[in-house]
């Protein structure tokens, strides 16, 4: 990967859900550079979640070019895309990010349990130390042994961020993770997130319909400038 090539590079990408007549996404061009904190906004149904799932390799586009970290995801098998996601991508949902029968700590360590590469990136440092350090930054240190059903929604979202960033993925995808939080908590949450992302040199793509938080990001884009599918 050359230094000046973008982290995410999408060209002429078509995606249609199975059984759907018209494409949900048609993206002629969309690039994200390394180190960006990108805010993507658009109304409900504009294809934000769909785009993130394509970037994370959960969904596969029917045609077009999709390169992340210089690697062509369209040439990968589903299993390779799963492995790619495990290694390079952190994902945070709007809500219900955590597996209810695992403790906070166990939820956080999932990615390094699933990807050897993510674990290796921690280097020789003790896993437990890293987890505690991240959680210290996010202010959730004292929740580690708790059951995930015993913590607040805001705390759950911070746990989800800790999990998504453990093992320094190059890309963090966030699907409206603040919509359940009030304005104060939203800003606080984002500042913590950016702090860690900068520390880890992780690029952030954040989608939301709520433009109040737009100003905190380094760049902001509307879905309809990206998605040319007529819906």
């Amino acid at each position: 990967m050359s230094l000046n090539s973008p982290l995410i590079e999408i060209r002429d990408l078509h995606f249609t859900y199975e059984g759907q007549a018209t494409p949900t996404l048609f993206v002629p061009e969309f690039t994200v550079d390394s180190g960006e904190e990108l805010f993507l906004f658009g109304p409900s149904g504009s294809g934000k979640t769909t785009l993130l799932e394509i970037i994370s390799g959960v969904l596969a586009p029917q045609s077009g070019c999709l390169r992340i970290l210089g690697q062509d995801l369209t040439k990968m098998t589903p299993a390779q895309r799963d492995a790619f996601r495990a290694e390079h991508v952190g994902y945070v949902f709007q809500s219900f990010n955590l597996i209810p029968y695992l403790s906070v700590y166990e939820n956080i360590e999932l990615p390094i349990r699933l990807s050897a590469v993510r674990k290796q990136r921690l280097g020789t440092v003790d896993v437990d130390m890293v987890i505690r350090a991240i959680c210290g930054n996010l202010g959730i240190s004292d929740l580690l042994d708790k059951n995930v059903t015993q913590i607040s929604v805001g705390q759950q979202q911070r746990v989800a961020v800790a999990r998504a960033l453990l093992g320094k993925p190059q890309l963090l995808l966030c699907d409206e993770p603040t919509s359940a939080l009030d304005t104060d908590h939203r800003e606080k949450f984002l500042r913590l997130l950016f702090e860690l992302a900068e520390l880890y040199e992780t690029t952030v793509v954040f989608v939301s319909h709520d433009r109040n938080i737009e100003k905190l990001f380094s760049r902001s884009l509307s879905m309809n400038t990206i998605n040319k599918a007529t819906s």
């Binding site: 979640t49 994370s56 589903p78 799963d82 492995a83 949902f93 597996i99 699907d175």
Partner: protein
């Protein structure tokens, strides 16, 4: 491994459903194994009702009838064998020993058998067990009677007690009683778990005396039995059995039938085995119901677990991992169920063995897990895993179709 941990924690999280599923599999496996064990014991017990006897000889009738009335105290002989015929055959050089058996009289619902000391010497059951005594000794005097353990238990007879023997196997009063000849109990046999326990034994002479008009002041030496019902034969060499059988069946002076008890018992069991098959079929059905319960428990939780699957996919689990996770879960449930079932069955057998022994004469000895049981266990494990594939494939498909955006 992470998926092992996930499966265990997930199952633990659904403790009640998990427990009930394991319980239902345990119960059905336990039932299947116990039924299997009891069947084997029944068959063994049945086939070993009599052993070491090479031939049973009676008047010509059906082989089934002969084995039923001599070995199982069921039914009656239509004809007798004359005592002289018996004596003539008993002298055959191939024959090592014989036991004369005279049936027909009954005592309060129990069969009365006339025989001699050779019965105590040569009658074997369950491979090499002989008739033993819980109290007393074999009959010696004309008026001595030896009773089976079940007779003693049911009629609450004691050693030395005087009893009256009547004619015909019946509990009916008013039948012709042989009040003239009062018997005294000289021995109570140890329980054998065979039909021997349900009979009363007297000497051939006593049996004959019962039929004499005036039996007062009779001496054993003066009585000569003139007929017996059947006799058991032991040969010197097993090689002679078939030849001897042919010779007896071709006996010129009287129509006789000689049967090999092992063969007759096996045939008889074959006839009874439909009951065994039905029992096995029922326990297999119960097993199927157990697995259905598991299938239901697994599929109904799938919907609740869609978010869980999406999260796992988001953190990098492949869809085949999700498949593996769910198959592993059902395999684990089945495994726990099978282990529970085996323990249940062993426990049940251990707890009930004494009762079954005394009540039904079935000895639940022998190895608990034979090839058949192993086959069932492996079959159940395989079935459980295969059944687990159904919800697992469904979950995998769902996870692929839902992507990560499961909406609640």
């Amino acid at each position: 491994m992470i998926f092992l941990k996930l499966a265990l924690k997930s199952l633990k999280n659904r403790m009640l459903a998990t427990g009930l599923t394991v319980l239902s599999i345990s119960l059905s496996i336990g039932l299947l194994l116990t039924v299997e064990r009891a069947q084997r014991a029944a068959e063994d017990g049945f086939n070993q009702t009599i052993s070491k006897t090479d031939l049973i000889v009676g008047a010509r009738s059906g082989p089934l009838q002969l084995v039923l009335y001599t070995v199982f105290n069921i039914g009656n002989a239509t004809h007798n064998i004359s005592f002289s015929t018996y004596q003539e055959i008993a002298k055959h050089p191939a024959i090592a020993w014989t036991i004369p058996y005279s049936l027909g009289d009954g005592h309060r619902g129990f069969r009365v058998v006339g025989t001699n000391q050779d019965f105590f010497k040569y009658y074997h059951f369950r491979k090499n067990q002989k008739v033993g005594f819980a109290a007393g000794r074999p009959f010696q005097e004309l008026t001595d009677v030896v009773i089976g353990s079940e007779v003693a238990r049911q009629l609450q007879y004691k050693m030395g007690q005087n009893i009256v023997v009547s004619h015909g196997v019946t509990k009916e009063e008013g039948f012709q009683h042989h009040d003239d000849l009062p018997f005294q109990i000289s021995g109570i046999m140890a329980a054998t778990g065979t039909p021997l326990d349900r009979a009363v034994y007297i000497s051939l002479e006593a049996m004959e005396a019962l039929h004499l008009e005036h039996s007062e002041n009779l001496k054993k030496e003066n009585i000569k039995p003139d007929a017996i019902t059947s006799f058991f034969v032991g040969t010197h060499s097993r090689l002679d059995i078939l030849k001897l059988q042919r010779e007896i069946n071709a006996f010129a002076k009287e129509p006789l039938l000689a049967i090999i008890p092992g063969v007759a018992l096996a045939e008889l069991w074959e006839g009874l085995s439909y009951a065994e098959r039905i029992l096995r079929l029922i326990s297999l059905m119960v097993l199927i119901v157990g697995f259905m319960a598991m299938l239901i428990a697994l599929t109904t939780t799938l919907n609740e677990r869609r978010r869980e699957m999406a999260i796992l996919r988001a953190v990098g689990a492949q869809s085949k991992h999700i498949l593996g996770l769910l198959v592993f879960e059902s395999a684990l449930l089945t495994f726990l169920g099978v282990v529970g079932g085996v323990i249940l069955s062993l426990g049940l057998v251990a707890a009930l063995a004494p009762w079954i022994e005394s009540k039904f004469g079935l000895y639940l000895a022998g190895s608990a897990l034979t090839q058949t049981e192993l086959f069932y266990i492996l079959g159940a494990l395989a079935a459980g895993t295969v059944i687990g594939l159904i919800p697992a494939f469904k979950a995998q498909n769902q996870a692929l179709k839902d992507g990560l955006s499961v909406r609640f």
